[in-house]
């Protein structure tokens, strides 16, 4: 045992060696590889659409593309939970995958600023029939297109038709209607509003912030706020939370503990009355129960503010380092066409709306209603994280969770939020 007695000299030798190893590791981050110069071979499509239905739909799409093209494409489906943190690693690696499923708007622009994305303006030359709003969303700060939208979806307050009929309720149009309706549901012994902002799903609460802000202060103010042109300590933002407080007694008291999927389950089982959520909600509904589900537009709070809606747009972008840009652009052009988008909307759960206006309109009554609602909107926003950045989303998660648990501490929560947000804007 004596041979193990730690002498100080030996310990220092050991520590020195460990330090040297760490320093060597540090050097390695600066390595550049000569890879990425190959010109042929299969193009890889990195996809975060890992839910079983969506993955099957993507596989079918890739197979259909392969049949009619001389290029070959390989689909890589990565779990959504690991995809987001790994995306920057993929894009900055020496030999990155070629094409990625991701979000339009600021999030894509953020990567483009660092020169990581392929210019897809030539694809947009074939997309003349797309509305200008989509082109604006797909254009980066330097004015070139870097994104090809394939589909979008909507957000709404979902409810069960049979339950509303049982309670004698109809869809509310205004905020005061909505509060009365909440009171009625509460009097029936049911939690009026589910949330589902539990572990890993804190972002769900941002939907409420987004919509209240859009309805009270307008879409323009909302987007300027997320860009750092206003402060979260502004009286306008205070008004958003004051309005939210009126509805807070009707929220599920466990709203910040229950996961989103559990919250959707509560609605389906009739344990809660309503849930503000995205159209992907349909995936969480068992077969048959979908017919009983409906949604209404988030109620109007100030009639003088034009109605804007959340319409998150999904699509593809590609790595600037791709070795086979001909194949990449060919696939993206194909994906922008109605045929490919029809395949996608039919095989997936059926609540996404194809981005190409010439593609077949969705057949499900829910999707039709969603499309009509978005078509009538004066402006479209994406979602908190897509309109800002993942870093700002984290500050919102902290602030909103804190607000839902301690609404009395609002002013200190907002000033902390502002401090954290300023750090994000500064480093962006």
């Amino acid at each position: 045992m004596s041979s193990y007695s730690l002498s100080r000299r030996n310990l220092l030798q050991g520590v020195g060696a460990v330090g040297a190893a760490a320093a060597l590791g540090g050097c390695a981050t600066a390595t550049k590889s000569s890879a990425g110069t190959q010109t042929g071979g299969a193009v890889t499509l990195q996809s975060d659409l890992s839910s079983p239905l969506a993955e099957k739909a993507m596989q079918a799409l890739v197979a259909a593309y392969g049949k009619q093209s001389k290029h070959s494409l390989m689909l890589n489906t990565i779990a959504a939970t690991t995809y987001q943190p790994l995306l920057p690693t993929y894009l900055t690696s020496a030999n990155p995958p070629d094409i990625y499923t991701w979000y339009a708007g600021n999030d894509a622009d953020h990567y483009s600023k660092r020169g990581l994305l392929l210019d897809v303006s030539s694809v947009w030359n074939t997309m003349g029939n797309y509305p200008p709003a989509f082109k604006a969303l797909s254009t980066d700060a330097s004015g070139k297109q870097i994104f090809v939208p394939t589909s979008y979806y909507w957000w709404g307050v979902f409810y069960r038709k049979s339950k509303f009929a049982e309670w004698g309720l109809s869809e509310p149009k205004t905020w005061s209607d909505f509060l009365t309706l909440c009171q009625t549901i509460k009097s029936k012994g049911v939690t009026p509003i589910g949330l589902g902002a539990g572990t890993g799903n804190a972002w769900v609460a941002s939907a409420w912030f987004d919509y209240l802000n859009i309805r009270i202060n307008g879409a323009q103010y909302h987007q300027a706020l997320l860009q750092g042109q206003h402060a979260f300590t502004d009286p306008q933002v205070g008004k958003v939370f004051d309005t939210w407080k009126q509805a807070l007694p009707y929220f599920d008291p466990n709203g910040t503990a229950v996961t989103w999927q559990a919250a959707s389950n509560q609605l389906i089982q009739g344990q809660t009355g309503m849930l503000l959520t995205g159209a992907f909600f349909a995936d969480a509904a068992p077969k048959g129960s979908l017919d009983d589900l409906d949604f209404f537009k988030f109620p109007v709070i100030d009639a003088s503010v034009p109605d804007a809606e959340e319409a998150p747009t999904d699509g593809l972008f590609a790595s600037a380092k791709t070795g086979n840009s001909a194949a990449v652009l060919d696939f993206m052009t194909w994906m922008a066409k109605p045929d490919a988008q029809n395949m996608w909307t039919q095989t997936s759960s059926g609540t996404v709306i194809p981005a190409n206006p010439q593609a077949a309109t969705p057949t499900s009554p829910l999707a039709k209603k969603g499309q009509t609602m978005l078509a009538g909107a004066s402006a479209l926003t994406q979602f908190f994280n897509r309109d800002s950045s993942d870093a700002l989303q984290n500050t919102a998660n902290t602030a909103l969770t804190n607000f839902l648990q301690n609404p009395g501490k609002l002013s200190s929560i907002l000033s902390t939020w502002q401090t954290q947000a300023e750090q994000v804007w500064k480093t962006a």
Binding site: N10, Q13, A22, T31, D48, S51, P52, Q261, I268, F281
Partner: protein, 292 residues
């Protein structure tokens, strides 16, 4: 003690076992049963969920009483979920990684334990220190180095990384074990004209077998259950071992927990099999730290 007293019912009445002792025994068994039930509850829940249908889980929630029986989940995890390929990948990684680590570690341990290698203690300390280092801080260097060597996104890179990160600990444990082997055995072999390699291969290694078996079983479960390095080194879905494949069954918003539960059960089978086969050595492995 309690059992031997049991047959004589009359004896019990006459107080062969005092009340306190009986209460203690009862308390021990009741407590132990409750603890083991508590321990087993999550596993039982996974097994129950893995046999429920998707609509049942989506409609009634995860924690409800089963309303359906759907053993097809296992088939969909195996085929559609890609667990079949993932298990093959896991085997391709785990088996060579364990074999090579043990071979290399035992060689290094042999030299460090049986010979006066210069800087011996420093080497052992660095190996031990390396184990104290959280692997997370090496994620980026490892990812970039595999790219530099052209090994990125290959199973060979994953095997190399798993070997590299296991080696230090195994050397440390094995050299401790080898030091307990009496020097006379080696001296006798030396007198008979055996070279260092013969001594290693034919004398020391057979004597180290208990430690090797314990470490082999332990390292198999570690490598097999590792998630961090596969997602760092690999990009392609078809090359992913079983842990990231399980994660990949989760959707962006909605997850079919019944299929995920079935996949978890499948993924647990190899490690459980290794455990049952090497159970004895696992317990032996727990004592390895006590070897002087």
């Amino acid at each position: 003690m309690a059992l031997t007293a049991a047959p004589a019912a009359g004896a019990r009445r006459h107080g062969h076992r005092p009340l306190g002792s009986r209460l203690r025994t009862f308390g021990f068994h009741a407590g132990a049963s409750a603890l083991s039930l508590l321990w087993f509850a999550p596993i039982a829940l996974i097994l129950v969920i893995s046999l429920r249908s998707t609509d049942d889980v989506l409609g009634h929630g995860l924690n409800s009483v089963p309303h359906s029986f759907a053993p097809g989940n296992f088939a969909s995890a195996w085929n559609d979920g890609g667990l079949k390929q993932a298990l093959i990948n896991s085997a391709i990684v785990s088996i060579p990684a364990v074999a090579l680590t043990l071979l290399l570690a035992s060689m290094a341990a042999f030299a460090l334990a049986r010979y006066q290698v210069p800087l011996r203690r420093t080497l052992l300390l660095v190996m031990l220190g390396g184990n104290l280092l959280p692997p997370q801080i090496l994620l980026v260097p490892v990812a970039k180095l595999t790219e530099l060597f052209g090994l990125h996104d290959s199973l060979a890179a994953l095997i190399a990384v798993e070997i590299g990160f296991g080696l230090g600990f195994y050397v440390f444990v094995l050299q401790g074990f080898m030091r307990t082997i009496p020097a006379e055995i080696q001296q006798a072999a030396l007198l008979d004209g055996a070279g260092p390699f013969t001594i290693y291969w034919r004398i020391i290694l057979p004597l180290t077998r208990p430690a090797l078996a314990a470490l082999g079983a332990l390292s198999f479960t570690w490598v097999f259950n590792d998630l961090l390095w596969p997602i760092t080194v690999l990009v392609s879905e078809t090359k992913m071992p079983v842990t990231p494949a399980l994660l990949g069954l989760q959707g962006q918003f909605v997850s079919y927990w019944n299929v995920i539960a079935a996949g978890s059960v499948i993924a647990a089978i190899p490690t459980v099999a290794v455990f049952l086969r090497f159970q004895r050595h696992f317990i032996g492995g727990l004592n390895l730290g006590g070897v002087k």
